[in-house]
């Protein structure tokens, strides 16, 4: 009987929000020395379960046991004291403090009431190097480093609080391949040291690569717990979605690539560049063409897109849209038919305080100016149309957007731009952190837009996705455009080769 005992056990967890049953009779267990993946679509209750575990929410009913002892977690402090540490999807550190301060905040080595800076910095540097294989200047403020590094720092911080249970909530969504590898090495090491890791991700590959066990939630309910090796991929997906899966069937490969070669050039950038962001590049996009922008994190994808939209000012080169249009500011770019969905949905996309309706009409209203206002009735009509067309949930135009799940927020942002009737839609990581169903919907939407003559610049870290939707793929590496691939040249291998950049510099 004395086989392995779970270090953490949750039974019959119930949690209700006004109008929503977030968790209903959910159970979960976690053994020491395992990586346990928590899977489910958006709104399945993964985040809620994690927030219950970390003390952000309190449960209505149910019990939590840690090392066979019943515990009541009433706040993040309780969770930490019990040995449950969390790294959230969005890095939750202080960007204006140094890396070392971030790691030791609240636990600085003190002497006579003074912080011992030397000791602090040395300890932080040692911790990062030994456990994360990361060699950086820990005295620099955190915000000078890319998100990927910040994420690793966040994990280092969580580890340093003597943790028994480590929760990683979508830690890989902003990491590139090498960094994911690095993270998995760290996870494997921690696992062998007996740490229990709860891992949440949307990437199926990663689930199978690293996890020992999988728990699936759907619509706030417990579906089942499985050993990863005994659960085929298709079964996992169909359990998550709750029906036989047809969504990810091979979407028809764009047939019209040849036709599009004939259509006119919509936008042309000539040696457009900005020092420190992206080296000068040429890029022309035809009407109705879908151009994929591939490259690792930090390769300059977002930076290039921001130049095309006028969000940042280039310091050299030229950009012409249509016949002589320009994009010096976002306002100008929008007037010339460009739309840009930023990868930073929270910071640069949604307006939290406004409703779904207001968020949708915002860009169109901005084009119309202050006084030609769209009537309330018309706004509700428009919102209703998009809610139906894009399947936005909840279907209530007057719901505040901050209450929506990530995928639905993304759909609202897409609606905002579709409403402006753009000629070129720049999508920066439109499917990051959203569930498979919504992902497929967005990919289909992109293709149907292109058939209507809208050009799309599609940026994504998921190679598979870029390959599926694009007519042409531009590859960036180290802030430089290194290759353009089209037609038969486009394959996973060729793109990967260009990204990795074998022989050439």
């Amino acid at each position: 009987m004395e086989e392995r005992r779970p270090i953490l056990q949750m039974r019959h967890i119930h949690k209700q929000f006004p109008g929503v049953k977030a968790l209903s009779d959910v159970q979960f267990r976690l053994f020491p020395g395992e990586v346990h993946a928590l899977m489910g679509e958006n709104g399945a209750g993964k985040s809620t379960l994690i927030k219950v575990l970390t003390g952000v929410y309190s449960i209505d009913r149910g019990e939590v046991e840690l090392e066979q002892k019943r515990i009541v977690i009433q706040g993040p402090q309780d969770a930490q004291a019990a040995g449950i540490s969390t790294v959230y999807q969005e890095v939750n550190l202080c960007p204006n403090l140094s890396v070392a301060e971030n790691i030791f905040i609240g636990r600085e080595p003190m002497r006579f009431g003074r912080i011992q800076w030397k000791k602090l910095n040395a300890a932080a540097a040692k911790l990062l190097e030994e456990r994360m294989h990361l060699k950086i200047d820990v005295t620099q403020p955190l915000h000078v480093y890319p998100i990927a590094i910040q994420q690793l720092v966040a994990i280092a911080r969580a580890l340093n609080i003597s943790a028994k249970v480590l929760i990683l909530d979508e830690p890989t969504s902003s990491l590139d391949r090498g960094e994911v590898r690095q993270l998995f090495d760290v996870m494997n090491k921690l696992k062998s040291e007996g740490l229990a890791i709860l891992f949440v991700t949307h990437f199926l590959n990663q689930v199978y690569e690293i996890s020992d066990r999988i728990t699936i939630l759907r619509g706030g309910e417990f579906v089942g717990e499985y050993a990863a090796s005994a659960l085929p991929r298709i079964e996992l997906v169909s359990k998550m979605i709750g029906k036989e899966l047809k969504l990810l069937e091979e979407l028809p490969k764009q047939p019209a690539a040849a036709e599009k070669k004939e259509s006119g050039i919509l936008m042309e950038a000539k040696s457009l560049g900005k020092r420190g962001a992206i080296e000068p590049f040429d890029l022309s996009i035809r009407q109705g063409e879908i151009v994929g922008l591939a490259g690792l994190l930090g390769s300059g994808r977002t930076e290039a897109a921001r130049l095309l939209f006028g969000a940042d000012a280039p310091d050299q080169g030229s950009l012409v849209i249509g016949r002589g249009g320009s994009a010096q500011t976002p306002r100008r770019a929008i007037d010339n038919g460009i739309a840009f969905c930023s990868e930073d949905r929270k910071g640069e996309g949604i307006i939290d305080d406004l409703t779904i309706r207001e968020n949708i009409v915002l860009a169109l209203q901005a084009s119309q100016g202050w006084f030609r206002s769209i009537s309330r009735k018309r706004q509700t009509e428009i919102a209703g149309q998009f809610i139906e067309a894009l399947n936005i949930n909840p279907p209530n135009p007057d719901q505040l957007i901050k209450n929506l799940s990530g995928g639905n927020q993304q759909k609202v942002l897409l609606a905002r731009w579709l409403l402006t009737d753009p000629k070129l839609l720049i999508l920066d990581e439109p499917t990051r952190g959203i569930d498979i169903g919504a992902k497929a919907e967005i990919q289909k939407l992109v293709m149907s837009l292109s058939q209507k003559g809208v050009s799309v610049l599609f940026i994504s870290s998921e190679l598979e996705e870029v390959l599926r939707v694009s007519d042409r793929i531009v590859v960036l590496r180290d802030r430089r455009k290194v290759k353009e691939l089209q037609g038969d040249e486009m394959s996973e291998q060729s793109v990967m080769k260009a990204i990795a950049g074998g022989g050439e510099g």
């Binding site: 939209f309 976002p330 306002r331 910071g347 307006i351 939290d352 305080d353 901005a366 100016g369 202050w370």
Partner: protein, 341 residues
């Protein structure tokens, strides 16, 4: 969820109720010389400048800004108007008064533009940018009046702040018009949505194509204009301009009124009607303190205490804390059982 005006209105009602119990004559309104008199009318009349300043302040705060210079603008516009009139040969001439009003309001727009330029154009933090004019403004007012307190003898000018229309003080109508204009401008056009958007998420708003700078400048312009009108009312009411004391501490009362009205200092959603009620709460409080004969040395302490209570009652987390305390005190066992159920 309760309506956003629930707490401001309740608090105002409580204050009035207190007055009713303390002195029933508080609510009596008499007609004398063809005009209505009474404490309630006084509150509306004396509260007019504060309501105006607070309405302007609401829009600035909604853009995530703040305007500390409104008190100084009140002093400057009063000085400007009085100076212009005092230079004329016939102080009562309608043309002269009209010119004085136009010059004063023009100046207030200019000052608002200055604030907007510092905040949106140069990018100085609002609290510092408007502090500049707050400090310098008193000096400017002194410059205009040559350091003197100017007194006027102009019936037409006096009408703005002390005249009456349909038996009510004229200033009440000014407030009504400005309030109506502000509501129309923000809710019937897209400006209100832009202000909320810019105040809530400046970067996202810019990427959505909103000209964030223009929106912010417009808010400071309007705030300057509101303060300018308040300055006219105040100086007209006493027929004089005092660069040192006119509008003193108005910025703080105005900010307080905005907050009591439900608009967050973090910007975003704003509530003009809430602000007006907030200003009325403050004015009622001031009047009440006079009525109940608090000795003048400690009036500010009493005011501060009531303001503290008002703010606490408005805070949702404070109310929840009190309620849950109350419940556990009465039924200590209940909480235990629910937790383990």
């Amino acid at each position: 969820m309760k309506h956003h005006l629930f707490w401001p209105v309740t608090l105002l009602a409580l204050l009035l109720l207190f007055n009713l119990l303390y002195d029933p004559s508080f609510f009596s309104i008499k007609i004398r010389d063809g005009r209505l008199y009474g404490s309630l009318i006084d509150i509306l009349n004396f509260g007019a400048p504060l309501m105006l300043v607070a309405i302007g302040m609401t829009l600035v705060i909604a853009t995530k800004g703040i305007d500390l210079s409104v008190g100084s603008i009140v002093a400057i516009t009063g000085a400007m108007a009085c100076m212009t009139i005092s230079k004329g040969t016939d102080q009562n001439s309608l043309g002269l008064v009209a010119m004085a009003v136009i010059m004063a309001l023009g100046l207030s727009l200019l000052l608002g533009l200055w604030n907007g330029f510092l905040v949106a154009g140069i990018g100085i933090q609002p609290i510092i940018a408007t502090l500049i004019l707050m400090v310098a403004g008193r000096g400017i007012a002194q410059l205009i009046t040559n350091g003197q307190i100017i007194t006027l003898n102009s019936g037409n000018y006096k009408y703005i702040g002390a005249g009456d229309l349909f038996r009510l003080p004229f200033s009440i109508f000014i407030v009504a018009v400005v309030f109506g204009a502000a509501v129309l401008l923000t809710r019937r056009t897209a400006i209100g949505m832009f202000i909320e958007s810019v105040g809530n998420k400046p970067v996202a708003s810019r990427l959505a194509g909103i000209r964030a700078k223009s929106v912010m400048i417009a808010a400071y312009l309007f705030c300057g204009l509101c303060a300018g009108i308040a300055g006219l009312i105040l100086s007209s009411n006493v027929s004089s301009a005092d660069g040192n004391n006119a509008g003193l501490w108005y910025e703080l009362d105005a900010i307080l009124a905005v907050v009591i009205g439900g608009t967050s200092l973090n910007g975003g959603r704003f509530y003009l009607a809430g602000t007006v009620i907030g200003a009325l709460i403050i004015q009622t409080l001031t009047t009440t303190i006079y009525v109940i004969n608090v000795s003048p040395e400690i009036t500010l302490v009493v005011k501060a205490f009531v303001v503290l209570v008002v703010c606490l009652i408005q805070s949702e987390s404070f109310r929840q804390a009190i309620v849950s305390r109350w419940k556990t005190r009465r039924y200590p066992a209940e909480k235990e059982t629910t937790r383990h159920a």
